[in-house]
Amino acid sequence: MELIRESIYMTATKHSETTQRNQGMPLDLDLIKNIHINRSGVERRANTIAARRSVKKDWQAAWLLKAVTCIDLTTLGGDDTPGNVLRLCIKAKQPVREDLLAAMKMDDAHIQVAAVCVYHNLIPTALAALKGSNIPIAAVSTGFPAGQISLEQKLFEIKKSVEAGAKEIDIVISRAHVLCGNWNALYEEVKLFRKTCGDAHLKTILETGDLSTLTNIVKASHVCMMAGADFIKTSTGKASVNATLPVSLVMVRAIRDYYERTGIKVGFKPAGGIQKAKQALDWLILLKEELGDEWLCPELFRFGASSLLADIERQLEHFVTGRYSASYRHPMA
């Protein structure tokens, strides 16, 4: 068992070696100025992309297991306590029932979620609970979800979370900078966040539901990538509109453009509202079609989700047994 773990770990390391971390680049305002996004066209593509591909049976099971490994298993409640975070972390290590994995001959594949995502206060609890696993902790930061605190406070928050052991920091951008077209300010802000993160990976939450237009979303995506974001992420999960396929489509295309210009692969994280296994497949198809297979791994793709896992488990059991499953048959997070 230990040996297999080692080998998986080795592949992961190998992958991260080939995936060069985004160091950012100088802000290119001309590029920002020339962005034209046609919403109706984007919506047409988003509406049909999943209808053009269908993943069934063994393929569906395999794809759903891949989705599991890309989940940032998340709890971001005002009512979070060490108790429920502990439960979440244990689920993170063993997200799918052992017998189901065995039936799919995947019991040796070391299926676990990509990360556990919590508020700063709960980092120590998570750290203790995840000990012995290589699952990183992601902490939301910079005045999540609204981001309406001073820059000093934001930087301090990042610093404290990194010190506490978070390997990934999910920051929120200042939406005002986007809405006012203050791209320089956004660039400088994110650049500072990135610097403060040090070795911890930076995920920039655009909170797309606040940005009004797809053009704004794409501009903000580019600015964040130029400022050194490791991931761009759709939403906090706290807004009325969270991750949607059209928004994801334009962000993913921005990532593709950035890759074509710099050779650097930036990751993508849709978050909020992805609750069903079918939706997870839609997103994987979107990534595969618009970005390519290289992005279909936890290093470059995450679902920010809390209830998605439960639905995937039920679908996997259905695949194994041919019987529709019930959620009580799967250990809760």
């Binding site: 046609n38 109706s40 209808a51 053009r52 591909r53 099971a61 297991l65 891949k66 001959k105 279909l296």
Partner: protein
């Protein structure tokens, strides 16, 4: 191990739609189908069958009956027999049947989709998500029109028995486009599906039985070209509606010329797909996929000519190529493919031949690195760059997944390139600049213009061509008129022999001096001109006395007039208000010289003074009517799909030839030329041959009424000769002819070459004095064609 290996490579696997229900249905029919005539399944008198097979795997699907001339006759007679009852049934009852058809299609939606994909080779995603829902929508929409016919279209009645011939690329949808409006307007039909794709039409016939549609209202006969020809030639039909190739459309136009059968033709295309430098290029790429790889490019309105602004061309080509690498070709029932199979080997060979020619002519061919499956008739998505308008592949319709690309420098050049084709079915243009989009859209010669979208359809919007893409519209209110005729037109009768009366009215007192000789000229390009031939024709008064001569117009004069009319584009670009002002001014100037014109009528026709004055007064009134319409006969914003503005704009045909009636020479001239002008056409008019002076007298008035040069051109001479020259002129967009039965036939026959719009009277004169004959909205509709412009929106 399977899950694990897929987990590692995340490939797509098999995702086939089940064909078991479709196979059960085929088996239930023992894979053998007869003809649906008079509500019954009838064996063909010849008992010959042809084979229908699945292009995805070449497997046999069924044997289908070939209808011969006797079967066609039976079907037409059944439709004729059913007509009076169907008419009498009334609007509401017909609405109920159409509603039931919509509902039945929905209930059997998946069976239809699977059958369609099996027989046609189109991806199940398309038949399931696009074709079948659109077909159902068409019946719903027209159930509504059936209900509203007697209120919205009260001046009209059904045409009668309609023959309908449809293509294989959208079998059920084309059936819906044909049958729904025909039945809704009270007609009965005989429909022939394409020989490659009969099955969904036969399933539809079953549904007609299920809903208890009266026998004979819908007849479905199957077969290939000869069956279609027998149907076209049948004397018992009142109208032909055809969708297919321009070549066959031309044959139909000629075969029906002069018969009085109405026709509507939806033909080929080579539609431009215009990309400006400020377009959202990623969206454009998906547009390209929808334009040319939808239904394997076997779409009459496929955006097959990519015109891209030079500054973004390389970038776009690169994006298109990387998208092409990700396209998947395979079995139509596979839910993970983008392109299915080509309909048949003959079509595949035709594509291969044109592609070969494209390469030989220097086009740069690019195809993705993957290979197509080999068990069916597959062809990979193909891109040609470095293509020029002079290349065959830039002009000929390939009807396959082949895109040809060329660049432009300015939007003016884009428009020129876009219009550099005989076709005019559709166009799409891509820009984020609404100013640019709305400048370009009206300038494209096409019945449908999609802005930032392509291949979007809805029953509420009309679809149909300009130029050699045919005429008539399908969908929308504009599509209904093809299945209606004016009740008042029923009163048009074959003329009694025109006997000129002897001069009885008192002529005005003559001067003692001899009259100063007047040379009557023709009027071309705003100038009074002498005939190119150098010959004149004498004109006599009603009493047989020589009055004067008019020029004997010839081919050259027609040519010059057409050129002058083309140069007068400014008239078309003017606002309706500006045109109205000039027309009112014409009326004003005519009023001043009322007596003179009345005297001319008395002199030429020997009519009474009061009759003459009536003709002049009515002429003035008709000018008023059409001047009034100039800024009022406008279009619609159709209710199509959400967040799309769909504007249906009536556009002038362009340059029209109008051959005026011999009778009522002033009123006939005014009542036919003025509505065409009011709609923005420029006109080459051939006035009454017997009394051309009524028209030539007008040019002085025209000159003083501020008409730009070339808007009206008057050519006198031998009417029938000049008519033929006009009808054969490929740069004339429409011809109206009010004359003999034979002349009508010549016009329709000659027009077949460039598919110009024609409106002829088959020798049945109108009473121009009567309100519902001499002055009608119909004149405006005949002077225009509807362009639908689709504008989806969202920030």
């Amino acid at each position: 191990m399977k899950v694990k290996s897929i987990f590692n490579n995340l490939e797509y696997g098999l995702a086939p739609e089940s064909s078991s229900a479709a196979n059960e249905w085929l088996d239930k029919h023992k894979r053998k189908f007869t003809l649906f005539i008079d509500g019954q399944w009838q064996t063909s008198t010849a008992a010959k069958y042809f084979v229908s097979s699945n292009p995805s795997n070449k497997k046999l699907l069924a044997k289908i009956s070939t209808a011969n001339a006797t079967d066609v006759d039976k079907a037409v007679k059944a439709a004729r027999k059913a007509l009076p009852k169907w008419v009498k049934l009334g609007a509401h009852a017909r609405a109920r049947y159409l509603y039931a058809m919509a509902r039945q299609i929905q209930k059997y939606a998946r069976l239809f989709a699977v059958l369609e994909s099996m027989e046609n080779g189109k991806p199940i995603r398309e038949s399931r998500d696009i074709d079948i829902p659109l077909a159902a929508r068409h019946f719903y929409h027209h159930a509504g029109w059936a209900q509203l016919r007697d209120t919205e279209l009260r001046d009209y009645k059904e045409v009668g028995v309609i023959a309908q011939i449809i293509p294989w690329n959208f079998p059920l949808l084309m059936l819906a486009w044909k049958i729904a409006p025909a039945l809704a307007m009270g007609n009965t039909v005989v429909l022939k599906p394409a020989e490659f794709t009969s099955l969904t039409a036969l399933l539809f016939a079953e549904l007609c039985q299920q809903i208890g549609l009266p026998n004979g209202v819908v007849n479905i006969i199957t077969g290939a070209g000869p069956t279609g020809a027998a149907l076209v030639e049948h004397k018992g039909i009142d109208k032909i509606a055809f969708t297919g190739s321009t070549e066959v459309g031309r044959v139909i136009r000629k075969a029906t010329a002069g018969t009085g059968k109405k026709i509507s033709l939806e033909l080929g295309g080579k539609s431009p797909f215009i990309v400006f430098d400020d377009a959202d290029l990623d969206t454009v790429v998906e547009g390209v996929v929808d334009a040319i790889w939808f239904n394997q490019g076997q779409v009459c309105c496929a955006g097959s000519r990519l015109l891209v602004q030079e500054s973004v061309a390389e970038k776009l080509y690169k994006k298109i190529k990387s998208r092409m690498e990700k396209l998947r070709v395979g079995d139509a029932l596979d839910k993970s493919i983008d392109l299915g199979a080509i309909i048949a080997p003959i079509q595949l060979r035709s594509i291969e031949k044109l592609v070969k020619k494209g390469v030989e002519e220097g086009g740069h061919l690019w195809q993705p690195s993957w290979k197509c499956p080999t068990d069916g008739y597959y062809y990979p998505p193909t891109l040609f760059t470095e293509v020029a308008p002079a290349s065959s592949i830039a002009q000929e319709e390939i009807f396959g997944p082949v895109l040809v690309a060329m660049t432009f420098r300015t939007h003016e050049e884009a428009i020129k390139l876009a219009n550099n084709t005989r076709y005019g079915l559709a166009a799409s243009l891509w820009t984020e600049n609404i100013n640019l989009a709305l400048e370009v859209a009206p300038k494209i010669k096409a019945g449908t213009v999609w802005i930032n979208c392509t291949n979007v359809f809805d029953a509420a919007a009309g679809f149909g061509g300009y130029r050699e893409s045919g005429f008539g519209r399908e969908g929308g209110k504009e599509g209904l008129y093809d299945y209606l005729k004016l009740k008042s037109d029923e009163k048009l009768t074959t003329p009694k022999k025109v006997v000129q009366k002897k001069l009885t009215s008192k002529a005005l007192p003559l001067s003692v001096l001899p009259e100063i000789d007047r040379t009557v000229k023709m009027y071309i390009g705003g100038k009074q001109t002498r005939p190119d031939s150098g010959y004149s024709l004498p004109i006599e008064s009603a009493s047989g006395k020589f009055i004067t001569c008019v020029g004997e117009g010839s081919r050259k004069d027609i040519r010059n007039a057409v050129e002058a009319a083309h140069a007068a584009q400014s008239w078309t670009d003017m606002s309706g208000h500006a045109r109205a002002q000039i027309l009112y001014y014409l009326a004003e100037n005519l009023t001043i010289r009322k007596e003179e014109f009345a005297n001319r009528l008395i002199q030429l026709l020997g009519v009474s003074a009061s009759e003459a004055m009536l003709e002049v007064s009515l002429s003035i009134e008709h000018i008023y009517t059409y001047a009034a319409y100039a800024d009022k006969y406008d279009g619609h914003v159709h209710h199509t799909i959400s967040r799309h503005v769909t504007m249906a704009m009536p556009e002038a045909l362009g340059v029209m030839g109008i051959v005026c009636a011999n009778e009522t020479p002033l009123l006939g001239f005014i009542s036919s030329v003025i509505p065409a002008l009011a709609m923005g056409n420029r006109v080459v008019a051939i006035p009454s041959e017997l009394a051309p002076l009524c028209a030539t007298d007008l040019y002085q008035i025209i000159e003083t009424s501020d008409f730009p040069a070339g808007v009206i051109n008057i050519i006198t001479g031998r009417k029938e000769e000049l008519t033929e020259v006009l009808a054969k002129h490929d740069d004339v967009d429409g011809v109206w002819y009010f004359g003999t039965k034979e002349g009508s036939k010549i016009v329709e026959m000659s027009a077949a070459e460039n598919m110009k719009r024609t409106w002829v009277n088959y020798g049945k004169p109108r009473n121009w004095f009567e309100l519902n004959h001499g002055e009608q909205e119909q004149f405006l509709r005949q002077a225009t064609q509807v362009k639908n412009i689709w504008i989806p929106y969202g920030a």
